[in-house]
């Protein structure tokens, strides 16, 4: 169980390899978010956060996932600073005995992270910089986990 907020990049493969040997895991689900790099997409993405609250919020989200599912390991990494198209933004991972818990926990981590962890994205485009608006669909996705 770990959360990391960092400027530097991470290696999804290395992180996954470290988790796959944990406990009695028979399933490992990872998700990573990447700065979109297609034509018409952003030139760069600035990630701002609230130091202190960010780590506390991520730890709370991870603890909630561990309370709901029987996980042998979990990990949340989120980068901050200026990121270029194609670069990693963040990753979550959930390991469990069986795939259902691992899939569900990874999705839960993402849904809660998007709506409860204090990160803000600003896109740099040829027309200027703009703050990314929160999406109602993200709130709806998080709400479905409400007990």
């Amino acid at each position: 169980m770990a959360v990391r907020v960092q400027e530097e990049d991470f290696d999804l493969g290395v992180e996954a390899a470290a988790l796959r040997g944990s406990g009695d895991a028979g399933a490992l689900v990872t998700f990573s978010g990447i700065v979109r790099g297609g034509e018409g997409d952003v030139a760069a993405m600035m990630l701002e956060h609230y130091p202190g609250m960010t780590e506390a919020a991520l730890e709370e989200i991870e603890a909630e996932a561990c309370a709901r599912w029987d996980l042998s390991a979990s990990l949340i990494i989120h980068r901050v600073g200026r990121l270029m198209p194609g670069e990693n933004i963040m990753m979550v991972a959930a390991a469990s005995r069986h795939r259902k818990a691992a899939f569900e926990a990874a999705e839960f981590l993402m849904d809660y992270l998007k709506t409860r962890a204090p990160f803000w994205k600003k896109e740099e485009t040829p027309e200027g910089a703009r703050w990314v608006d929160a999406r109602e669909a993200d709130d709806d996705a998080a709400a479905r986990w409400a007990k």
Partner: protein, 82 residues
């Protein structure tokens, strides 16, 4: 208390944090009124608070939340991580 601003609230106020005397401020709404009165930049930042979230001592709360014992209040737009 320490008042912090993130994302476009930081840009509109042109500051990331400031010390504010909390005397006479019972709730977050009272603080917002006091901040609006500080000048044009603050007034612009808090023009539409429906677009603003607030955390008191790093916990997200409503604008009717009490400021009793609060040491850190942060204002920011809805979160967009992930």
């Amino acid at each position: 208390m320490k008042v912090m601003y993130f994302a476009w609230l930081r840009e509109k106020t042109a500051i990331s944090s400031e010390e504010v005397d909390g005397a006479g401020l019972a709730t977050v709404s009272d603080l917002v009124e006091a901040l609006r009165a500080k000048g044009a930049r603050h007034a612009a930042a808090f023009e539409d608070v429906s677009a603003v979230k607030v955390a008191v001592d790093q916990k997200v709360v409503g604008f009717d939340a009490s400021l009793e014992g609060a040491t850190e209040v942060a204002f920011f737009p809805p979160m967009t991580g992930g």
